[in-house]
Subunit: 251 residues, 3 copies
């Protein structure tokens, strides 16, 4: 594909659920405050409460959105508690979210980066919905290019830093039953096998290269190793869930 044009879009990455009433409320704030910026949904059903797999998924997914994108990233079981709210700029994209590790893989893997604390607090700040009341106005301000003075304050780095190496676990399972791992292919080597769910899993380039129902792994479009089965659910066949361990099994 030709490189994506630089373009300001607002990208939502949350655990608010696609079928619930929360995404619409966040978008109402964004549409009112940044009227001309397209709103895109990256994910809303990443596993609830699990910050670490979400952080790895976000780091892999971010590169698939245009430079200039502003991400509203909220997986935030500690909402209303003491964690800070931050903005991370990383290689031309911005990320607004809680300082609970969610933005820390993006941060640690970036070449050009900056971290700021959100100093502003809205007149109305609910205890349970900072996505709407705090993060959305900040994301809209960034996307429209007009951040009021005093909203952001410099800080050295996110306070919570998760291990930014490859994550040898399942980080996402899609509706086909494919299990995305936190293992980056360019570190793994395409020829090697994986081990997961008690089984050795060979590599194949495409689904049609294996028989119907057969399990294999392939380099997915985000550059991660993904365990799949041809026209079947690999996750069900192997009993995999988000968090299940995966390892390289050699050639």
């Amino acid at each position: 594909m030709a490189p994506l044009y630089n373009r300001r879009v607002l990208v939502l990455f949350t655990d608010f659920g696609n079928r619930d009433i929360y995404v619409g409320q966040v978008k109402a704030v964004l549409a009112a405050r940044a009227p001309r910026v397209p709103l895109l949904d990256a994910a809303h059903d990443v596993i609830d409460f699990a910050v670490e797999p979400a952080a790895h998924l976000l780091a892999a997914l971010a590169g698939e959105y245009p430079r200039g994108s502003v991400f509203l990233a909220v997986v935030d079981p500690g909402v209303g508690g003491r964690r800070e709210a931050i903005v991370v700029d990383a290689d031309g994209r911005s990320f607004v979210g809680p300082d609970n590790g969610l933005l820390s893989i993006v941060w640690q893997r970036a070449r050009a980066r900056r971290c700021q604390r959100i100093a502003w607090r809205p007149a109305r700040l609910s205890d349970s919905f900072h996505g709407r009341d705090l993060f959305a106005p900040v994301a809209a301000a960034l996307a429209s290019g007009r951040v009021p003075r005093g909203w952001l304050a410099p800080t050295r780095a996110p306070a919570v830093l998760l291990d930014a190496g490859d994550h040898a676990r399942v980080i996402y399972i899609d509706h086909y039953g494919n299990a995305v791992t936190g293992l980056r292919v360019r570190k793994l080597g395409r020829g090697s096998a994986l081990r997961a769910g008690g089984r050795r899993i060979p590599h194949a380039r495409i689904f049609e290269a294996v028989k119907t129902g057969e399990i294999f792994w392939y380099a997915n479009s985000m550059g991660l190793a993904e365990i799949a089965a041809n026209r079947a659910s690999a996750a069900r066949k192997l009993g995999l869930r988000v968090g299940s361990k995966v390892s390289a099994a050699g050639r």
Copy 2:
């Protein structure tokens, strides 16, 4: 949060389902007839066929969208039958939908209000999909500020009026398993306990104030009492469904 700017947006509140083929068809009509108005999804998986909890949810949710919003509100098990189609203006927002009680809580709680009957009928009116054929063109006309003469006719009030007091039942369950009730917090008092699923449920301000798995209620961001569990599904633990009874249990 700073007050939302006044802004015309079209807001969809239906039981058409997020994963089905109906929302897209409604949006095709809206996008063709009101091209510059943003389309927002408030809810599409409110419980099928159940008008009363949906009416209470709509009343609580409406205030989270900007003044000037036009709501297309369709939970309409009687589609194709004899119920009328109406437009309710309430405190700066408009609501287009069936006259089956769905808009009646919004109506009764409004200070400034007006009710009109939809007199227009489209050339093509399917028996099963008034959301697309009848309500969407009217909502688009309202949102674009150009309602053709004769489409709307004055009427005194909605014909079907549900009880507009607090609804002592579960009205919505989200994907986390939190159970939203129809009890308004400012009537309830924040310190009191609730009773639901055979259990006394104490109040807590935030999730982090209770242990993992513990059940509590809190004042949610719409001003309703919501029963939750820290990092667990309260609905599953208590056996709650939309329609389950809830009561105040005193201090």
Copy 3:
């Protein structure tokens, strides 16, 4: 309904799943390359891997979107293999997708039509995500009216042609449990009965014409026979799935 205005919109019809991470990536490409064209979701949870029912659903659904619409249509179990990529123009709408039969019902039923092969290949073409890397840039180019020279090459017709007659099977089940069939009503006659799940199913015009729980079929808003139950799931009651056989049972 008054006829839809001619309007260029981009319509997504895929099996990528509403809750997964794929639709957002496709929309990022479309939003970057065709910034002013609205993006509409026709369906993302048509049954995985099943090309034939999806092809019939697409043919019925296409007419509900404005002339000028460009459809990105991807149900593509053979992605990365040898099937071609094509563009079908049919009666004022365009369809971009794999040449695996998916576009062949639309093609065979069109009066004015043209078929082209996608000759262009992007610099980066993942093995598993042609929806994002190949079809989305082509759909965006069509929708913005600027297709670079050499991207498309004339061809006579799609290579894979499925039977374009009525499909006597369930092709889609919605979240209410209604079962959409591939039988067109104007070929069937509204008075006749159907047979499915071992039962004779009478016709009714609207849901309110039958008792709660009763099963019937009606002419749905796309012109297809649809099996439903009043305030209940017909699919569950009859044990229907996508692919289940349906037949006309006479009067």
